[in-house]
Each structure stands twice: as C-alpha cells, then as structure tokens.
C-alpha cells in the first residue's frame, strides 16, 4: 500500500537546516584520512563490490551491454578472486540483455526509469515504464524525482509519485535520484532526502550523471545524515548511492570513510552503499593490482569495459 502524505511532515522536512561551511569543513577532514597498506586493499575491494557499473547512452547496443555485464561479473580475469560489482545499471530497453548476461552471477540488474533523466513525462507513463521494466527482470529501479515540482514547493506531488513508483516496483528495490545538482542548496538536499525516504525509497541517490555537478562529498554527507536520522528514529536502514563524478579510487575510499564515520559498520556493504560509476572500476583495479604487484601496471592492462 502506498504511503500517505502529511503536510506536517513536509514542514518538518523543509525545516532541515544545514550549514554549508561546516559541511565543507567536515568533508575536508574526511579527506585527510590516510588509508594505507592492508586497510587500503580491503577497502578497494569493498568499493569494487559496491559499484553499479553503468552505461546510459543513446548509443547503447546489446553488445555494449553484454560487454559491460562481463566486466561486472569478472572485473579482472587475472585476479579471479576479486568481487564482482554490485550491479549493472542500464536503460529499460537493455534490461533483457543484461538479465540474460548476468544470470547466476550475483550481479544485479538495475534500470533507470520514470522518464530518466529529466522525468518530464506524464505520471501514468512513469508507472507503466517501471512496471514493464520490472517485468523484464530488473532487480532495482533508479527513478528520478520531479525536481520542478520539488523546487515549486509541491511536495505532495513529488511524494505521491515516489510512493506510486515504489508500489509499481513490487519486489524490486527502489533508488530515488534527487538530482542534487539541480536542487541548488544543501537545505534542499536535506529536505528532498527526508521526503524520498518517507515516500518509500530503499536507496537515495545523488544524481543522474547527466547534470553537473553530480555526486559531491558534501551532498553525500547531508544525505547520509538524513539516512542516519531516519534509522535512529525508526530502525529502518536506507541505502545510499552517490553517482557521477567519482572516477578515482582515492575518491571512493574517502566516501567509504565518510560512510563508516557517519553510519557505521552496517552500511559498509553493497547491500547499503553503492557507487554509480563506470571509469571508477578501472582505477580501483589499477590500485588493487598495485598493492598485489608492488608497482603500477600500465592502464592498458585493464579492459575498457
């Protein structure tokens, strides 16, 4: 049953206060964490297992998606012990190919839906798109919120859309993309996070990757704090997915430090934290191979996807 909207809740979400300067200070402090040797290797592998390996292009073809799936299942054949990525993330039309390719591997299939990336289509079409995508076998749905409605203060519209999509998802896990690059302020990010969680998000996600800036540590910290608040109030865990702009292993490790220091051990798992990324995987592999081999390999040692 879809959740219901209460105006009083919306007032509470909108009253969220965030101090930008202090958030920046906290993030700067996270970035000074020095992750070396054994702990580095462990966290690099964890980060690899958290990637939603993504292709969201007009030029995507079944072959391209198959290639991506192969990479997701076996990131680096020379090291068969490495974890597979958490999921592949594709457009709805590519779901059947992806489902076929990753069958039995443990890699999930995530699909963007609801008129991704802008979300500017009628709501019934969004619901229909989600239903069909799930029917084609998607394990996870990455929806976008109606940013226009959010910025116009129509919280009920945003909420009900998420709640309807959640219902349409059935067993599929729902990731709600706030597109923080279009929300303008951290106060808005905090409010939208609370709204999305209340409406039924299983995960909250920063960005589509189509808007700059995409994920930042500042935005992610504010979203993690919303998740923390919800968990402490209700005992319900919500997942987090920064997406877009995370290209280096070092960045990924700093994100993990922030997760550990904000939410604790339970979130240090692909079940509750994901990176929406593509080129990140090869930098993670590069760094992992560096730790195993004692020197940096040529970047050409790792396949392009």
């Amino acid at each position: 049953m879809a959740r219901t909207f209460h105006p009083a809740d919306a007032r509470r979400w909108r009253a969220a206060r965030v101090d930008n300067a202090a958030v920046a200070q906290r993030v700067a402090r996270v970035r000074t964490r020095s992750i070396k040797t054994e702990s580095k290797l462990r966290l690099l592998k964890l980060a690899l297992s958290m990637v939603d390996l993504t292709t969201l292009e007009g030029q995507d073809t079944p072959d391209k998606v198959q290639s991506l799936c192969r990479k997701a299942m076996h990131p680096f054949l020379e090291q068969p012990d490495l974890p597979h990525t958490a999921a592949v993330c594709v457009y709805p039309n590519m779901v059947p190919v992806a489902v076929e390719s990753v069958r039995g591997s443990g890699v999930k299939v995530a699909a963007v839906a609801t008129g991704f990336p802008s979300g500017q289509i009628p709501v019934p079409l969004k619901i229909e798109e989600v239903k069909r995508t799930v029917a084609m076998g998607a394990d996870e749905i990455d929806m976008v919120i109606d940013r226009g409605a959010f910025l116009a203060g129509e919280d009920q519209k945003v909420f009900e859309e998420i709640a309807m999509v959640k219902e349409a998802c059935g067993k599929a896990r729902l990731k709600v993309i706030l597109e923080t690059g279009e929300l303008g302020t951290l106060d808005n990010v905090a409010a939208a996070s609370r709204l999305a969680i209340a409406a039924g998000a299983d995960f909250i996600k920063t960005s589509t990757g189509k808007i700059s800036p995409a994920a930042t540590m500042e935005v992610t910290l504010v979203m993690l704090e919303a998740i923390r608040e919800h968990y402490l109030e209700t005992g319900v865990m919500i997942g987090m997915k920064p997406a877009g702009g995370i290209r280096t292993a070092k960045q990924a490790l700093h994100y993990l430090v922030m997760v550990a220091e904000t939410l604790g051990k339970a979130w240090m798992s692909p079940e509750w934290f994901r990176f929406g990324a593509s080129s990140l995987v090869n930098d993670l592999l590069h760094q992992i191979a560096r730790r195993e081999d004692g020197h940096y390999a040529s970047p050409r040692r790792f396949s392009v996807d």
Partner: protein, 492 residues
C-alpha cells in the same frame, strides 16, 4: 542521558573503520642536548642545569636541555639591546620585512620536518601540526612581514617607533605557533627579542633558532633561552627589558604582573579561558556538533580559547548530546605521528594528573562522566580520551575552572537571556561560540557575550589578520591583525 535503551536503534561506529598504521616517516634531527641561542650563536648552557624533554606519547626522553641562569639571561638581554640600538631599529621597514619573508619561506620549506618534531615533543597529532600549527606559524610571519614597511598606516597620522627589547614567554600547547605569534609582530615593528619556550616543548624553538641563522638574521635580534619558571622570572624581571609578552596560565600571569608592577615595562597577557559554546535549538545541529568537537577536542583541549563549556538549549539537549557522542565515537586516539590520529597525548605527566584530578572532582560533584573514542586508549604514554561531563551545574568546579584538557562540561539553558547570563558567569573572557541559523539571534547574543573573541557557527578558527585576546582574567592586549602591532610600538 546516554543510557541505551534496548529497543533504540544504535550505530556500530567504533569498529566501522579499521585503518592500518599510517605514520609520518620523514626523518627528523633531534640533538642529544640543547642550550640557548644568544647573539646569533648556540650556547651549550650549564651541565648542572640540564633537564629532560620527553615524548609524552611514549615517555621516551627526546633530549636534554639546559636551563638558563640569570647570567645567561642577562647576556641574552644585552645582546638583544645591542642588536636593537645598533642594527634593527635603524634598519628600514622594507629590509626588516625581507628577513621576515625569508623566515616564513624557510619555515614552509621545513614544515614537514617541523611538524614531525613538534608532534614528538608536544604529543599533539601530526594532522594538527601539519595542517594547523606550522601553516599558521608561516602565515603569521608572512602577514607581519607585509606590515614591516607600512607601519605608518597602522597608526594613521601619528609617529611610531619600536619599544626596544621584548621578553616573550610562551606556553607548551602550540610551541612553534606561539613563538611565531610573538616574534613576527615584535620583529616587524623593529623590536628585538629574548624568547623563552616552555620547558616541556623547547625543540621547535631551537629549530626556529637554526632558521634564524640560515636566513642571516642579524645576531641578537632573536635570542632564545631555555628553562622553567626561574628562567622566566629572571627574564621578565630583567631591568633592561621594555616589554613583556606572556601567554600561559592566569596564575603565572598574575605573578608576572606583580613582578613588573611599578616598572616602565609594557605588557600583554594572553591567559586562561573557559569558553562557552552556546547551541540554540535552531542551529544546524550536525554541523554544530562538528564545531563543538573542534572547540574542545582540538589539540586535546590544550587551547586557552577552548570551548570547554557547552551550553545547550534544553529542548535539544538530549538530542544534541547523542549526536555529539556519536561523533566522538569516531575520533581516533593513538600514536600522534599516525596521520589518522584525531586525539594525541597529553603534553606532560603533570597536566595528565591535573586532568584526571578534575575528572574525579567532576564525578564527586555529581557529574555523569562519559568517555568515548573509535580506538582503544593507548597505555604507552599520557592519554586521556575525549570526556564529556553531563549533569553539571553552574557552581560546579568543572564548570568554572580551566581544565586544559579534552574535557567538555555540559550545561543547559532555556532562553537567550539565560544563555548569555550563564556564558558570562565566568572569571575568564577569552572566547565563545554561538550556534544558530538565525542571524538576528547570532548577532544579538554575540554582542552580549563578554569575551575577546566570539565565533558564530564555528570555533577555533584562526587567521593572522584577525586579532586575538581576552578580557577579565583572560588577559589584555591583542595578538594578530593590525591590533597586534600596537603593543610593540611607542606612539609619539
């Protein structure tokens, strides 16, 4: 307030981030023995006066240091006087500025090594010496280098000249940074100096003396004498000193003021504090937590302006304390040389005992004592984990006296008036912080606080361009900014 009820969800924070050791490995040179730096030359000092300086994280002896006798202090003052009258006061401002710029650049070049020495000698984490102490020390020299040839603009329409010889006595909590705070304005204004570092942290001052040689500073412009109270007394009491600048405890400040009463000596005193951090219900709470952490657990709380009293609006007190405790549970206490250490060692066994005594007093007076950290408290040296004293009242010892350690005393208030009244209910008046997202409230409250420094939505933020200093028992005179020049100038 911090009891976990069975049903309440909790976060598994302590073990969430296991990090391998990441020590700062730059090699450092620490000699077996240090003496004094007088007239541009190093002197061994007297054998019978040697005392030890230790690494408080390991209790190992780092070096032996000679304490200056009255004769040696006299020699240092003489050489400072000669350098002032013959060289430094006659030199043009632009030339003096060049020397200051050179010192600043040399400090930058050696910053990594200086940070590693400071961390060993003091016990504070390398994260702080590397990111705060040394960069700020450089910034002070750069800032005052810029003033050296522009003094006429510091006092528009008036003539100013240097005072002469300044006796400067500095504390152990920011050894190199305090030396920079004292030396830079004194040198920029044409004064010469005899500096006495704290007896538990002399090493970076001696490294600074090497820098003075390397930049060819004229001999006698900066002299450094080591030693404890007796050396300090001989220095500030010397008849040929024109100016006394002291940073340290209010108790010692009083002794110095008595000693120099009735003399022509000018003085600036930067003394103790019991800073209040006022958190209103309309603050950005998670960010206020971060500021509170910076306010009291920065440098193990060995900060004169530390925000050691937390005043919480009653309606959010419990919520805020839970947030604060969660954050404290992610602070890593341990080897100060490890780049991930947030809380290092207490500087000396004496200070360690003082802090433990205050915690015990707090407990006896009815405080609920809570301690937390992400990592186990090491048993190799003098470590005190971040400590929060809850359930205190305004009259309790730990709400009134300066502890100078990682101990936060929590009090509550109901209205802005009560917050101001409680915050001002202190003998001290160095610093305070106010947290609110409502600007009108921030300004109103900030102006009513009796403190030399008030931070809004932040704490322990320093800049050489910003004056620093206290009122009441926290001292007088300002360091930093244009105001930091005035105590070193004779205005005609």
């Amino acid at each position: 307030m911090n009891k976990k009820s069975e049903s309440k969800p909790t976060l598994d924070l302590e073990g969430a981030l296991e990090l391998s050791p990441s020590p700062e490995r730059i090699p450092v040179t620490i000699k077996e023995r240090y003496g004094h730096f007088i007239g541009g030359k190093f002197h061994d000092g007297a054998d019978e006066s040697l005392f030890e300086t230790i690494n408080p994280a390991t209790k190992e002896t780092l070096a032996h240091v000679a304490a200056a006798t009255e004769a040696e202090v006299n020699q240092a003052v003489k050489s400072a006087r000669a350098a002032h009258s013959k060289v430094w006061s006659k030199m043009g401002g632009a030339e003096r500025g060049k020397y200051l710029y050179r010192i600043a650049r040399r400090l930058q070049e050696k910053s990594r090594e200086l940070a590693a020495i400071e961390t060993r000698d003091n016990g504070k984490p390398i994260r702080e010496t590397r990111d705060v102490d040394i960069p700020l020390a450089c910034a002070h020299f750069f800032y005052y280098a810029g003033w050296a040839d522009k003094l006429e603009y510091a006092l528009p329409g008036r003539q100013a000249k240097s005072l002469g010889v300044a006796a400067q006595v500095i504390p152990w909590n920011f050894p190199l940074l305090m030396a920079a705070w004292k030396l830079a304005p004194a040198l920029a204004t044409g004064n010469t100096v005899v500096l006495k570092p704290a007896e538990t942290t002399p090493l970076t001052a001696m490294a600074l003396a090497e820098i003075m040689q390397e930049v060819d500073l004229p001999p006698g412009v900066v002299n450094i004498v080591n030693g404890a109270g007796a050396t300090g007394a001989a220095l500030v009491g010397h008849g040929d000193v024109d100016k006394v600048a002291f940073t340290g405890s209010t108790g010692v400040g009083r002794i110095i003021m008595r000693q120099i009463a009735g003399t022509k000596k000018r003085a600036t005193m930067e003394l103790g504090g019991k800073g209040a951090q006022i958190v209103f219900a309309d603050a950005a709470l998670d960010q206020a937590v971060e500021g509170t952490i910076n306010g009291i657990f920065f440098n193990q709380g060995h900060v004169c302006c530390a925000g050691s009293r937390l005043l919480l609006e009653e309606s959010i007190a419990e919520d805020f304390l839970e947030r604060l405790q969660r954050r404290v549970r992610t602070l890593r206490i341990g080897d100060p040389l490890d780049k991930n250490t947030d809380v290092g060692a207490i500087n000396s066994p004496e200070q360690y005992a003082t802090i433990q005594r205050y915690i015990e007093v707090g407990r006896k007076e009815g405080a609920n004592v809570w301690q937390g950290s992400a990592t186990a408290v090491p048993d190799t040296g003098y470590f005190v984990p971040p400590t929060i004293l809850m359930g205190l009242q305004q009259s309790d010892t730990c709400a009134r006296e300066e502890i100078f350690g990682p101990v936060l005393s929590v009090l509550t208030f109901r209205t802005p008036d009560e917050a101001v009244k409680k915050a001002n209910d202190s003998e001290y008046g160095l610093a305070a912080g106010v947290w609110s997202e409502k600007t009108s409230k921030l300004f109103e409250v900030a102006h009513r606080l009796n403190a030399g420094i008030v931070w809004a939505n932040g704490y322990n933020l320093f800049d050489p361009a910003s004056p620093f200093g206290g009122v009441r028992h926290s001292g007088f005179g300002r360091e930093g900014g244009i105001a930091g020049l005035w105590p070193y100038l004779e205005v005609a």
